[in-house]
């Protein structure tokens, strides 16, 4: 029974993977492909956020800071030193980690929503600093050169398909890291810290140390997504890579999909992007106001009706289905005997 179920799950997963791999050849036009890339981008950031916000239970509303650091570091290294974006991506991750550790050290002393508020403030300050920093292009932003195209330079101007596979690879990498964390000793330390912080302290776990581990992985992976954004758009500015609304969106896909679940943020990304596209078609234009109203509404809906998100809802449904099947089988047996 249980084995049957596990097999069904595995088959669905493989089918999904095949579908996702074949997607660029199934979609009709470039705008649909671009839409798929957008979903994967926010999904990747959401999964990275989930390591800190979901597993370690430290809700950050400032992840755009790491995203922006990733985008600006690789771009500036490319513009000033001509450094390959592959290396720039790693450097961006490194800078994001240093920044994360510097803010994590004091902020992890804060509890719950005080931590969340501190992360909003820090991301906001960073955005203001960059907006006023001429070397980084200030409010105008930075444009990337289209000198070297192809996989070496990570710029693709003919077809967007390579971008699709690149972000898919990044998403799978981020999911892989999350999966390893969930499976390892870190996963159960995080569960202990999240559920019973005082008990975790009284058995001798240094909470700050493990929160720093979580923010390290989370910020590094988020910054990789930022570099991808820069390479894809070939233009960055503080408003697009460091805005508070981006921070909220990153957190929201994870919250909507299900905090602390591996695939939840991916489901959240699909749903949120679909909602955004629909309302954009309904209200017309890209009114930033409507986006924020929708985010707020979704947060309220999830918090009130299903705090465990889509993943939690799915788990419950699956559980009920299993129970139902078992009962069905039991009653079938009774009839034949």
């Amino acid at each position: 029974m249980r084995d049957e179920h596990a097999w069904a799950k595995r088959i669905v997963l493989v089918a999904l993977l095949v579908l996702v791999l074949a997607l660029p050849y199934l979609v009709g036009n470039a705008s649909q492909l671009n839409y798929a890339i957008l979903v994967l981008m926010i999904a990747q950031a959401g999964v990275a956020w989930n390591i800190l916000g979901g597993y370690a239970g430290q809700v950050s509303l400032g992840h755009a800071a790491f995203y922006g650091i990733g985008a600006y570091t690789s771009t500036q290294l490319l513009l000033v030193f001509g450094l390959s974006p592959w290396l720039g991506m790693l450097a961006g991750g490194g800078v994001a980690v240093l920044f994360a550790l510097a803010i994590g050290w004091p902020c992890f002393r804060l509890k719950g929503h005080y931590f969340a508020m501190a992360t909003i403030a820090i991301a906001e300050i960073l955005q203001i600093v960059v907006t006023n920093w001429d070397w980084l292009g200030g409010a105008v932003g930075l444009s990337l050169p289209v000198a070297e195209t192809g996989w070496r330079g990570l710029v693709f101007n003919k077809s967007k398909v390579p971008y699709y596979y690149l972000i898919l690879g990044l998403l799978l990498l981020t999911l892989g890291v999350s999966w390893l964390i969930e499976r390892s000793f870190l996963g159960y330390y995080f569960r202990a810290i999240k559920d019973e912080p005082d008990a975790a302290r009284s058995v001798g776990i240094d909470l700050t140390r493990y929160k720093l581990v979580a923010i390290t992985a989370s910020s590094f992976l988020t910054a990789l997504g930022g570099t991808f954004y820069a390479q894809k758009e070939l233009f960055i500015d503080p408003g697009s890579t460091m805005a508070t609304s981006l921070s909220i969106k990153i957190a929201l896909v994870a919250i909507l999909g299900g905090v602390g679940s591996l695939g939840g943020p991916v489901a959240g990304a699909v749903i949120l992007t679909a909602i955004e596209e629909t309302t954009r078609a309904m209200f017309g234009g890209t009114g930033r106001g409507t986006d924020l109203i929708i985010y707020a509404l979704l947060i309220i809906l999830v918090a009130v009706f299903y705090p465990s998100g889509v993943a939690g809802w799915w788990r419950d449904l699956e559980h009920r289905l299993l129970l139902f099947k078992r009962r069905d089988r039991a009653s079938g047996k009774r009839k034949t005997s």
Partner: protein, 234 residues
Amino acid sequence: MLQVEHIRVSYQRVPALHDISLRVARGEIVAIVGGNGNGKSTTLRAIAGLNRLDAGRIVLADRDVGTLAPHDRVRLGISMVPEGRRLFPRLTVARNLELGAYTRRDSAEVATTLRQVFTLFPVLEERRRQLAGTMSGGEQQMLAIGRGLMAHPQLLLLDEPSWGIAPKLVTKILDTIVAINATGVSILLVEQNLRRALAIADRAYVMQTGRMVLEGSGQELLESELVKQAYLGG
């Protein structure tokens, strides 16, 4: 072995403990009794390092540990079984016990302690793959004590071990505490179940509104007029 000297603790500037002093000698069972909200739990939390001291010292085996982080105090031999058990509900029984030994590096010694815990509470061995959150109150209390023992403490702090468990099991838990003490672990126990706590304690303190009002042997306190009037119904 433990000497608490004139400690003060407050929650957001509201004082909870005024000038508390107590001591636990090696091998003793000491109880702190008194009604709800008088600072008993706060005293234990302060000793474990979960609450910051405003004043005073906590000396463990000639060393002032009052400013150390909780994890450093665990290494020095203080282990706490918190009020309401505070198990890790989404982890198995075995993982909860494993985390109890978080500060220990010698895996052979940890395995020995684990066997001792399983001898003390055979039900934990049977249920080792079960999620801690799905067990009964009594079993959870056994697991909480087992987790506390996994740190191989010299001093075990027990906060309300009879909380929320069946009366029949209370006797078993208290017997087990005496058995743990017999292996050389000193015990500081906080209990509302005053009569039973005093029955197993070598010495006890009575707390009222953040102050120690009485100290004596378990028997002395059971016979004291104040205790009789205030807690045993005349």
